[in-house]
């Protein structure tokens, strides 16, 4: 398209295009969204690769994420330090995986990480309980919650260790019609 932009070097843009599923225009648009969150922190010129991290509170206030019950986990999974503060790379990564162009197995991999609250590479019963409570905003009684969690483990746990491993999760989620 030939419009001169001074935010990235051409190599940087190419790199971003290869690493994520976005086109040039979309990457630039995402950069502007990132910058709008904190104009004083983010420099308009990324050619010298500044090391800028936005805190989780700003990311969580984006309209796309504000109402999502899992926004904290999403930010934690995609941030480098696991604390929710994201650089531009993390930001682009996150939206790339969540976009519709990402393949299902990639999404399944990241979904597993999001639902694994204690980061032990297994989804155990307490992780499930936290998930259900976040989904229903604590409207269900504790007996109902534990019934649901037991049913989930019963349904999806193939290797019978009482918790869901990545293979169990993938085996279950790839059959789901609604997984997007």
């Amino acid at each position: 398209m030939g419009n001169k932009q001074t935010i990235f070097t051409p190599e940087q843009l190419d790199a971003y295009q290869d690493c994520t599923f976005f086109t040039r225009k979309e990457i630039l648009r995402l950069f502007h969204r990132y910058r709008d969150l904190a104009p004083q922190l983010v420099p308009p010129d990324y050619r010298d690769k500044p090391d800028v991290t936005l805190p989780y509170e700003l990311i969580g206030s984006m309209p796309e994420l504000k109402d999502n019950p899992f926004r904290q986990r999403i930010a934690e999974v995609f941030s480098e330090g696991g604390d929710g503060n994201m650089t531009l790379d993390d930001f682009l990564d996150m939206f790339s995986v969540l976009s519709e162009m990402a393949p299902r197995d990639l999404k399944a991999y990241y979904a597993f990480k999001i639902y694994d609250f204690n980061n032990d590479d297994y989804i155990c019963k307490s992780d499930l309980e936290k998930t259900v409570n976040k989904l229903t905003r604590n409207e269900l009684t504790p007996e109902e919650v534990s019934l649901v969690c037991e049913k989930v483990i019963y349904e999806a746990d193939v290797d019978n260790d009482g918790k869901l491993s990545l293979e169990d999760f993938q085996h279950m989620i790839t059959r789901a019609p609604d997984f997007l």
């Binding site: 690493c19 109402d67 989904l135 349904e155």
Partner: protein, 642 residues
């Protein structure tokens, strides 16, 4: 780092991976695919946006569950049917007569009689659908029996007849088609192997950016979990079979007693009212005069609650309990109606306000009616000849062909027009039914909610948890009301073409009023359950009512002579003669001969036999397909679990 490696790898194998030479065409292909996907998605969005009231129903579904929402989906479906019926009656019957028929005042049947003229424009008269409303395209009596009208040579009587038959035929077709489609879906993929897991991990929609939508989504997820939990609890219940069976038999016995009791009560009350009428109604107060109405309404209000209490003995899955409830209330209404008719058998009271028994009553006394009507008509015709003779003042002998004296149509004496009377009764019944429903909603739900909310502070016990608390949405009552209302429309639309129009208006306002009332004044049920995926139970009841409602209309078309003085069939001995008349005049003669051969009973009976046999055959094959389907599913399950 990892990225660097990948880049080197790609550069090495550039050609094989489609970059470089084939780049332009590849990029073009990708762009076209993207654009096509986007277009498809936009089109799907557009199609979904076109479905009326979808947002309202989704909102109700997320807060109250799929069973309450299924009522509103049913209501919307009925609205669609009524729109089509309205289109047929309006476009093919009312509009041609209004545009091309003789205008108001040109014929006696189209004019308000002199005696009623003074009150014809009053609101009270119009609300009662007499006066100007009666003598208009809204009712049967207005239509002229000219074979063709206007410069288009539009065949009015034929159109009236065909639209009447066509509305019934279309309704049958669409109900059966919907039942067949629902039956197909039910047998299809019922994969519940990962039910709970999917609910947990895939129900949140990551594209939601609006807080209100998020609220709805949370509510719907919670409701969906609760529904699934109920299903799970039901399947886990430990049943003491003997106790349960005994309790169920007991409950059915109690229900039968209730039905018998209400039937007997009605019989008793009707006999009593006949006794009152014989002794003169002036001697009795308001209760005795309206005893029958009041008793029937009270029974209709309290017996369903009684059935509800009885059903708690039975301990069924809530969905099955709903079906039993619907079936019992249905039996209650039908039983009441029939006892009413039987009690009236010996009373020839044509002015009874319950037109439903009037028509069925008509059927049973068919022969006597014929005779009575002919007698009445003869009397009127005789009166008219005397009246005409009086006009001539005896100056001109009867056999001469003098020009008729111009008489204002309002002064001509009229014959009885039972079709318009019947139509009017149906319209009045529909209107009063609508008013009753709306007032019940406003008082029963809204005022009650206001009372509970604001008087809770200064009341002795907790109004919100104890009595009366907020009301729940009564699914069975509303569904039955809708079905019976539609039955009345089907029955009456032959005599009053305005009925579908009134019903469309009523359903439209009902939708908005009930949606508002549900969200504002009702609370969800204790045990939210998932409606059955098909609505076949509602459809079956609708089909039954459709069949019952078309019987009177068909009977009158075939057996009762139309009024001689009003309507598009006046002058004929039977209404269906318009068909044979059309065949004679408008079709070539060989067509009439063929039709005559085809309608020979000797041909029709074997044809009916053939149809019955083919139904049996298709039924047998479909059963065997279903079994084969189940076998295959089981095999699939066992393969997957391995």
């Amino acid at each position: 780092s990892c990225y660097r490696e990948a880049q080197l790898f790609v550069e090495k194998f550039e050609g094989a991976l489609g970059k470089g030479k084939g780049k332009k065409f590849y990029a073009y292909k990708v762009m076209m695919t993207k654009k096509w996907m986007k277009f498809q998605r936009d089109f799907e969005n557009f199609k979904t946006a076109c479905i009326p009231w979808e947002m309202k129903i989704k909102e109700i579904e997320s807060h109250f569950g799929s069973s309450v929402a299924s009522y509103f989906i049913f209501l919307r479906w009925m609205y669609g049917i009524n729109m089509i019926l309205f289109g047929l009656t309006f476009g093919l019957v009312m509009v041609p007569e209004a545009l091309m028929g003789k205008p108001y005042g040109s014929l006696p049947r189209k004019t308000v009689p002199r005696a009623e003229e003074a009150t014809a424009m009053n609101f009270a008269t119009l609300w009662d659908f007499s006066g100007f409303a009666q003598y208009s395209v809204l009712f049967y009596g207005y239509y002229n029996n000219q074979r063709t009208i206007g410069w288009l040579k539009f065949r009015m009587p034929l159109s009236y007849f065909l639209v009447g038959v066509g509305t019934i035929g279309y309704s049958f077709m669409i109900v059966i088609r919907t039942m067949a489609r629902n039956a197909n879906e039910e047998g299809g993929g019922d994969d519940t192997s990962f039910n709970f897991s999917w609910k947990m991990f895939t129900s949140w929609d990551y594209l939601i950016g609006n807080p209100e939508t998020a609220d709805n989504k949370f509510a719907s997820i919670t409701t969906s979990f609760k529904e699934a939990i109920v299903e799970e609890q039901e399947s886990r219940k430990e049943e003491n079979i003997h106790l349960t069976r005994f309790l169920r038999v007991l409950a059915n016995f109690l229900a039968l007693c209730t039905l018998a009791g209400s039937g007997y009560l009605i019989f008793f009350v009707v006999r009593r009212s006949q006794k009152f009428a014989l002794e003169g109604l002036e001697n009795y107060g308001w209760w005795e005069r309206n005893e029958v109405n009041m008793v029937m309404s009270l029974l209709g209000m309290f017996c369903p609650t009684l059935f509800d209490v009885i059903s708690s003995l039975e301990n069924y899955h809530p969905r099955i309990a709903l079906r039993w409830q619907l079936g019992r209330i249905f039996a209650l209404f039908l039983g009441n109606l029939y006892t009413f008719i039987i009690a009236l058998m010996d009373e020839i009271n044509l002015k009874a306000r319950y037109l439903l028994p009037f028509i069925i009553f008509n059927m049973q006394l068919g022969k006597d009616e014929d005779f009575q009507q002919l007698e009445e008509e003869k009397i009127v015709k005789y009166n008219m000849t005397i009246w005409e003779a009086s006009l001539y003042n005896g100056t001109i002998p009867e056999n001469s062909t003098a020009p008729p004296i111009q008489v204002d149509p309002a002064d001509v004496p009229r014959g009885p027009c039972w079709e318009t009377m019947v139509g009017q009764e149906f319209v009045r019944l529909t209107v009063s039914d609508t008013m009753t429903t709306y007032i019940t909603i406003l008082i029963g739900d809204f005022l009650r909610a206001v009372f509970v909310r604001f008087f809770n502070y200064c009341w002795c016990w907790d109004l919100e948890y104890g009595f009366p608390s907020y009301s729940e949405f009564d699914i069975s009552g509303n569904v039955l009301g809708l079905i019976f209302n539609q039955g009345m429309i089907w029955m009456g639309s032959f005599y009053a073409p305005c009925l579908p129009a009134i019903n469309v208006f009523r359903l439209h306002t009902s939708m908005y009023l009930q949606c508002w009332a549900v969200m504002c004044c009702n609370v969800p049920q204790e045990r939210v359950f998932k409606a059955s995926r098909s609505n076949n139970f509602y459809m079956a009841m609708l089909l039954f009512i459709l069949f019952l409602s078309t019987l009177p209309a068909v009977y009158t078309i075939v057996s009762i002579p139309p009024s001689f003085d009003c309507g598009p069939f006046s002058g004929k001995t039977r209404m269906f003669e318009v068909i044979s008349e059309t065949l004679e005049h408008d079709f070539p003669s060989w067509f009439g001969k063929v039709f005559g051969y085809a309608s020979n009973p000797g041909l029709i009976l074997p044809f009916i036999l053939l149809m019955v046999l083919s139904i049996y055959y298709l039924n047998a094959t479909s059963k065997s397909y279903k079994e084969a389907n189940l076998e295959l599913k089981k095999k699939l399950q066992s393969v997957r679990n391995r």
